[in-house]
Amino acid sequence: MSERVAVRKTYKLFIGGKFPRSESGRSYLVQDSNVSLASRKDARDAVVAARAAAKGWAGATAYNRGQILYRVAEMLEGRREQFVALGVPADEVDAAVDRWVWYAGWSDKLPQVYGGANPVAGPYFNLSAPEPTGVVAAVAPETPALLGLVSVIAPAIVTGNTVVVAASPAAPLAAVTLAEVLATSDLPGGVVNILTGRLSETVPTLAAHMDVNAIDLTGVADAELAAELEVRAAENLKRVLRPAPADHDWHTDPGLTRMTTLLETKTVWHPKGT
């Protein structure tokens, strides 16, 4: 009896809720698989998809976004073994699930913690509330491939941003598999877009893109590249999260900064009178 021939997976990009190949038709061999090598044009398409999804996602209720993020955690939990098979340590998968759960809960709490009424010296109602900045470009850390990726995606989207994320070039399989999780979690297409391939191809395009509102350089280990990207980002004054230190422990409490850097505070005044 002959051994069953396995059906192998083609690892593709995740743009606008779909799994296209790179428009360039290129792929690269990594982790024993062929993975799409995203081009500048793929990056641009991803921004278009993220922008198209931005209005609806920002306009969804916080409760709804929280439920969807929690659904992501559920789906990820169910695929635990699949990630372990890809070489992700089990405790990292657990931490990634827990991180989705942690961020899911912030959706309807951060506006209360980070906004509020201001007691101005006059007959005015005055309220500050955070809003998503818009489209975020992010660079996931090289390692840990799954927890690091989740740790840049979740804080960006929980508040209503959409994101284009460049996955770890050396370990992209977890990213593409996470995309499959996202695609089955009721997350609207385009809220998260994942590019695989070389950072030097996609990230400078994202950093310079005038329709991107913020850039998260967390995974840019090369200080010179990070500085160059920050210079590009200045052209439309993108909000910038600078690279994480190489020794950053991704299992610690992430704090609020990853979320708040990607938020705008809007303050509304109105007179009080009869």
Binding site: N118, V120, S128, V231, R239, K266, W269, H270
Partner: protein, 474 residues
């Protein structure tokens, strides 16, 4: 006709020295590169100030570093608070003097420097003084730390108020500062330095380096600073963002704007007209959050414009020190040239220009309150920040169109909404991409209320609890 006789505020209260040095490490230090600062209303020379060079900036940053490490950083918050309270009190006590000097150096009407700028300056110091010993409760973790030395560069439109917005939160959070006022309005910052001396603020906690762009660049690029805070043009803001790229310096930027002031057909028209006037003619329109684009619903456009013109004809343009002046002098010849250039472009592009009859003084820099009607989104006057008393009027038909036009700009600092319908206010406010939304009011400021922009209007917030974040290591 009821003609108001001249009612000049006395300038005798201001005792200017012929020349000023830099305020470094608690002392005024004489410099060599002296430049005149003038009264823009008369072009009279007020005093000479020193333009700091790289070596001066370096000394100031070192003084700030030493003060940070040895005095201000280790000092308990409750004691930092007391110094800030002292400063707030001294500002109140010397507010008449500061207001007159502000009007002299800036050209803004004394009514505004007296009734708006100075009360807000004192209030800002009072507000942040109270935070100095309560930082663990500010929501940035149990033990938030200051950043170190803050480099602060401020503009000429609200010289002392912008100083307060920068220095008060920085000091409350435990940082020391080197502040560069604008080259055309250095004098109140130097008087503030005297107030720091009077308050016995430890040497080096506040350093004031006067100068122009080169001084600012040297300060921002100095490797010894941990934080850069800038208020000014978007163009310079971008240059600063590039300059700090790849460094540890934390950056907050408060930049330009092109605010839409949306008037719906059910607006309280008389108050809306006041709001439009206040929105664009307050401080000669030298306001980053000025309501420089009036978006008026077509069904009431005629009525609103007629009221607006009638109201504009009542604006009293002239001597900034006259207590009845509503619109003062343009701050500098350069700024006047820019306003003229953009206004001429408005005419050339086919918009209709209107100003009330108004006699402008012969000397000094003046520009009559001006509106452009028949403006579309394509006109330069509707897209570029003029930073002067020039209003562009556009119309819209539906709320969705109003929001779309309001957001159709790279800026996002402020916006206005006028309607008597509450749900429409909230609907509109939700959709406007702007950091401050004034509904049925305009150009209101308060130390408790965060201020700052979306998009190319900058990032970070000044004022309120949010204003501490830019000065803490969080």
């Amino acid at each position: 006709m009821f003609e108001y006789a001249p009612a000049p505020e006395s300038r005798a209260i201001v005792d200017l020295r012929p020349s000023y040095g830099l305020f470094i490490d608690g002392e005024f230090v004489d410099g060599e590169d002296l430049h005149k600062t003038i009264n823009p209303a008369t072009e009279e020379v007020l005093a000479e100030v020193t333009w700091a060079g790289e070596a001066d900036v370096d000394r100031a940053v070192r003084a700030a570093r030493t003060a940070y490490e040895q005095v201000w950083g280790p000092m308990p918050g409750r004691d930092r608070a007391k110094y800030l309270f002292r400063i707030a009190r001294l500002v109140q006590e010397r507010s008449r003097e500061l207001a007159v000097l502000e009007s002299l150096d800036n050209g803004k009407p004394i009514r505004e420097s007296r009734d708006v700028d100075l009360p807000l300056v004192a209030a800002h110091f009072f507000y942040y003084a109270g935070w100095a010993d309560k930082l663990p409760y500010a929501g940035f973790g149990p033990d938030p730390k200051p950043l170190g030395v803050a480099a602060q560069v401020i503009p000429w439109n609200f010289p002392l108020l912008m100083l307060a917005w920068k220095i008060a939160p920085a000091l409350a959070a435990g940082n020391t500062v080197v502040l560069k006022p604008a080259e055309t309005t250095p004098l109140t910052a130097l008087l503030f330095a005297e107030i720091c001396q009077q308050a016995d603020l430890p040497a080096g906690v506040v350093n004031i380096v006067t100068g122009a762009g080169d001084t600012g660049r040297a300060l921002v690029e100095h490797p010894g600073v941990d934080k850069v805070a800038f208020t000014g043009s978007t163009e310079v803001g971008k240059a600063i963002a590039r300059a700090v790229a790849g460094t540890r310096k934390k950056l907050t930027l408060e930049l330009g704007g092109k605010a839409a002031n949306i008037v719906y057909d059910d607006a309280p028209i008389d108050q809306a007209v006041e709001g439009i006037v206040n929105g664009i003619f307050f401080n000669q329109g030298h306001v980053c959050c000025a309501g420089s684009r009036l978006l008026v619903q077509e069904s009431v456009a005629g009525e609103v414009l007629e009221s607006l013109k009638r109201r504009m004809a009542r604006l009293r343009v002239g001597d900034p020190l006259d207590k009845n002046t509503d619109v003062g002098a343009i701050n500098s010849a350069d700024q006047l040239a820019r306003i003229r250039e953009l206004s001429d472009a408005g005419s050339a592009e086919g918009a209709q220009r209107w100003s009330p009859p108004c006699e402008l003084p012969e000397r000094g820099f003046w520009f009559a309150p001006t509106i452009f009607t028949g403006v579309t989104q394509a006109h330069r006057v509707a897209r570029e920040e003029i930073f002067g008393p020039v209003l562009s009027v556009l119309t819209f038909r539906t709320p969705a169109e109003a929001v779309e036009k309001a957001n159709n700009t790279p800026y996002g600092l402020s916006a206005g909404i006028w309607t008597d319908k509450g749900s429409r206010i909230l609907w509109t406010a939700d959709r406007l991409r702007a950091g401050v939304v004034w509904a049925n009011t305009f150009n209101k400021f308060d130390p408790t209320s965060p201020f700052g922009g979306y998009k190319e209007s900058g990032y970070g917030r000044e004022g309120g609890r949010h204003g501490l974040e830019g000065y803490l290591n969080v």
